[in-house]
């Protein structure tokens, strides 16, 4: 995540979009971790979504 953050900082102006779909069971904890890690790329809330159920595993 930190490496992707660096990539986001370096390449977003060149047209690269980095984004995450959060699958943490506790949204507040996910938000806190996001702040602590200094993540600034867009993050969707994906817990409970059909997309998450279909693709988020492993």
């Amino acid at each position: 995540m930190v490496h992707l953050q660096k990539l986001h900082e370096k390449e977003s102006t060149n047209g690269l979009l980095v984004f995450a779909i959060a699958m943490h069971p506790d949204q507040k904890v996910a938000l806190q971790l996001t702040r602590e890690l200094g993540l600034t790329y867009p993050i969707f809330e994906g817990m409970g979504s059909d997309l998450g159920k279909l693709y988020a595993y492993g």
Binding site: F19, T34, P42, E45, G46, Y55, A56
Partner: protein
Amino acid sequence: MRRNASSWFVAILVSAGAFGQVEVGEALPALRLTTSDGSTLRIAVEGGQIFVHRGTTTDHPKALMVHFLQPDCLQCQAQAKAMQSIHPGVAAKGGLIVGAAHRGDAEAVRAFQQKLGLTFPVGLITDRAGLEKKVAGDACAIADRTGVVRFAQAGFGEGDHKLWGEVFDALIAGQASPHAGVARERFKVGDSFPAVRLPSLRTGKPMEYVGVDGKLRFTDDDGKTTHPKAAIFFFSRY
């Protein structure tokens, strides 16, 4: 330096690492665990029957689920909570769930069990010899009363506990397992990723990522729309 946009388009799925390779149709591997209370739990398949030795007692569960886990893995924790949700019903019918940590130490395993309120036994694998290719990452297997694995799964997704419950019910009843694993979609090179229309984690406002007319379109939680040349995305369990 200019880059070809297509070279950027990469999809990433977060993984818990390498997966265990316990396969459907093979015997559940023998395991020796040190549980949270310091006792030894031993699982063995002998003479076409599962033996679960705990202290001075020996059980022959009608079906046995083993969760290969890492105590510090959030996905493993989510999976263990889902297992706990079916555990009372499974145990009442003669089934058993066991958590088998292949990383960490006794304290980590104890904290894992206490934090999640797990009432099924969880232990640290004390002898991994011969298990290196069988137990890794976040995986689980359900064996029937003869010790043959009838269901195996790598990773975890929401709703999986329903499948496990169905497998347990069938195996406990002496029937064939209705599932051998979990069918999920996998991204392949050349696939189009479906549109993402979900709220922002930060603001709760809607955001959108979609491919339209051969272009990527992203709308952030301020309503600002851009057309990125490429995107990298991933599912994050933190």
